[in-house]
C-alpha cells in the first residue's frame, strides 16, 4: 500500500477524535457590477448574485465533504465593502434595506453568515461610511446573518481616531437593541485588514480581488494539542518542529479541498487561511494547546512566549504546505468561543491587559470580549484604539470585537448561544482617558512605512 496504516490512522484520528475540519469555505463576491441608479434593480441584482453563488457553494462543498470525509463546517460569503457600492444610494433607510437584501439572499441559499457590510476608512470617513456606521445598531440587531467590519487604520495610513470615536456609542446602542449584546458579535473593527480573510465577522471581498474567488480557513487546535501532549519533554525547538509538521499536514488537506472546490465551481482559488480557530467544542481550544505546553492556565506568565512559539510554528508549517497562504493566518484567541479561555477568565488567570499583550504576538486581537454594559463609550473607544495601535506599529492585522453587555458587571456570565459560546464579563481599568481620546484626528503613519 502506498500509504501506511499508521498514516491512515493519523488522518482518521485527526478527524474523529481531534476535531480536524475545514472551518470555513468563504466565497468572495464582487458586487460592484450590481450597482444601478434604480435601487430596486440594484437590490434585485445583489439578491440574485448572492443567492445563486451561495446555493452552488453549498452543493459543491457537500460533495467534497463526502469524497474526503472531512467536515466543511461553515459555508459563507464575503462581498465588496457595502459602503463603497452604496455611495450613490447612501441614506440610512437604504443601508438597512441593503442589509435585509443580503440577509434574505444568504438565508435562501442556506448560508449562515455573509460578511462585507462595512467600509474602508483608514484615512478618513466618506459620507457613505458615516451613514453605514449610523445604520449598524439597527442592521446588526435586525438581521441574522449580516456581519460588519470597519478598517480604521493601516501601517501605511496610520489610524483614523475619528472613526474609532464613533464606535463606543454605536456598540452600546447595538448592545441595547439585541439580546445579550449578540449584535456586537457580528461587528469587528480592524487595522491592516486582509482583503481575502475567510473568517467572520471580518470577512469582506477586497477591491483588489477578482470578480469571484474562494478562500478557505482550515482548523485544528485539537490536532495541535494532541501532538503537543505526545511530546511533553522536548525543548522549544523540537516542540516548534512537531507543530510545524502537523500544521503542514492539515494545511495540505485545506489546500486540496479548497482547490478542488474552486475548480468544481469554475472560479479561481484564493487563499488558505492557516489560523488556528477555536470552537466551543471540548478539545477544540487554543488555550488548551498553550496549557499543554506546560502552562497551568493561559494568562500565566510565560503565556506570551508560548503563543509566540505556537504562532511562528503554525506559520512556518502552513507556508511550506501552500503557495496561497493568506487571510489572517494567525491564531484566534476568542474569549467566549474557546472553553479554555472562558475558564481562564473565570479563575482569574487571564485579564484584559494580558490578553492585549498576547495579541501582540498573534492575530487577531481582542476577540469576543465582554465588558460591563455601563462602560463609558470613550473607554470602549480607548480599548479599541490600544489594540489597533499594536497592529499599526507592528505592521500586522489587529482587531477588536467587544460586547458591552447591558446590566452586567465584571465576573458575570453571559450565554451568547450557539457558536458564540459563553462570555465572562471582563474587568476594565477604571481610570479614564477621555480627554486624550477626544483630541480625535489621525495617528500618523509610523516611520517604519517610509521604505521607498
Amino acid at each position: 500500500m502506498a500509504i501506511t496504516v499508521e498514516e491512515i490512522f493519523e488522518t482518521a484520528s485527526m478527524i474523529l477524535h481531534q476535531n480536524l475540519d475545514i472551518r470555513t469555505t468563504t466565497l468572495g463576491i464582487n458586487l460592484k457590477d450590481c450597482v444601478h441608479s434604480n435601487f430596486r434593480i440594484f437590490k434585485k441584482r445583489v439578491f440574485a448574485k448572492v443567492c445563486d453563488f451561495g446555493t452552488k457553494l453549498i452543493r459543491q462543498a457537500e460533495k467534497l465533504e463526502e469524497k474526503y470525509g472531512v467536515p466543511i463546517v461553515n459555508k459563507r460569503i464575503a462581498v465588496t465593502p457595502v459602503s463603497l457600492i452604496m455611495e450613490t444610494h447612501s441614506t440610512g433607510a437604504k443601508f438597512l434595506q441593503m442589509a435585509r437584501t443580503l440577509d434574505l439572499a444568504a438565508g435562501k441559499a442556506g448560508i449562515d453568515f455573509i460578511g462585507g457590510f462595512g467600509g474602508l476608512c483608514q484615512k478618513g470617513l466618506s459620507a457613505s461610511d458615516r451613514l453605514l456606521i449610523a445604520s449598524l445598531p439597527e442592521v446588526l440587531s435586525r438581521t441574522r446573518r449580516v456581519c460588519s467590519f470597519l478598517n480604521v487604520g493601516s501601517t501605511a495610513s496610520g489610524m483614523n481616531l475619528d472613526a474609532v470615536n464613533l464606535l463606543g456609542a454605536m456598540l452600546k446602542k447595538t448592545a441595547r437593541l439585541s439580546r445579550n449584546a449578540v449584535g456586537c458579535a457580528k461587528f469587528v473593527v480592524l487595522v491592516n485588514a486582509p482583503e481575502d480573510n475567510p473568517f467572520m465577522a471580518g470577512a469582506f471581498h477586497g477591491v483588489g480581488e477578482p470578480d469571484i474567488t474562494l478562500n478557505v480557513g482550515i482548523s485544528g487546535p485539537g490536532v495541535v494539542r494532541s501532538v503537543v501532549e505526545k511530546n511533553r519533554e522536548c525543548d522549544l525547538s523540537e516542540l516548534s518542529e512537531v507543530i510545524k509538521r502537523t500544521v503542514f499536514k492539515i494545511t495540505r488537506a485545506g489546500e486540496l479541498i479548497g482547490r478542488e472546490l474552486a475548480g468544481n465551481l469554475k472560479i479561481p482559488f484564493g487563499i488558505v487561511d492557516i489560523s488556528l480557530a477555536s470552537t466551543t467544542a471540548e478539545g477544540d481550544s487554543v488555550a488548551r494547546v498553550i496549557e499543554a505546553f506546560g502552562i497551568e492556565s493561559i494568562g500565566a506568565h510565560g503565556s506570551t512566549l508560548a503563543v509566540a512559539l505556537l504562532m511562528d510554528a503554525v506559520k512556518k508549517g502552513g507556508a511550506m504546505a501552500s503557495a496561497n497562504v493568506g487571510g489572517l493566518s494567525g491564531t484566534f484567541i476568542p474569549i467566549s468561543e474557546d472553553k479554555g479561555m472562558i475558564e481562564a477568565v473565570k479563575r482569574g488567570s487571564l485579564s484584559l491587559d494580558k490578553l492585549e499583550s498576547l495579541t501582540g504576538v498573534c492575530s487577531v486581537g481582542l476577540d469576543m470580549v465582554a465588558i460591563p454594559g455601563n462602560t463609558p463609550e470613550e473607554i470602549i473607544n480607548a480599548i479599541i484604539a490600544d489594540e489597533l495601535a499594536i497592529g499599526i506599529i507592528n505592521n500586522k492585522t489587529t482587531a477588536a470585537r467587544i460586547l458591552p453587555i447591558p446590566g452586567k458587571k465584571a465576573g458575570d456570565k453571559v450565554e451568547l448561544g450557539g457558536l458564540l459560546g459563553t462570555a465572562i464579563v471582563m474587568a476594565i481599568n477604571k481610570y479614564t482617558s477621555k480627554k486624550f481620546m477626544l483630541r480625535g484626528g489621525r495617528l500618523p503613519d509610523p516611520v517604519t512605512i517610509l521604505r521607498n
Partner: protein, 92 residues
Amino acid sequence: MKKELSFITVIGKDKKGIVAKISNILYRNNINIEDISQKVMEGFFVMAMLVETSGYKKPQANIGRELDKVGKELGLKIQVQHENIFKKMHRV
C-alpha cells in the same frame, strides 16, 4: 479506464466477520479491493482497505451510508475517503 482509489478505514475493537461483512457489501456494489492492511494502534484495531471504485455508479454518499450501518452494528467507526487526501497530507 482511470482508477479511482479510496481508502476505507475501520477503527474499533477486533471481532469476527468484519472483513466478511465489508467485502460482501463492496462485492455487491462492484467495488474491487486492491489491498488490505491492519494493525493495533493506541489500543485500537485499525484496518485500512484500498478500494477501486470506478465500477461503482451510485453517489459516493450511498456506499458511505451502507458501510456506516454495518459499522454501527459491529460497534466500529468506518470511513470512506478518496486517496488524494492521504497523498496530500503524508507525501511531499
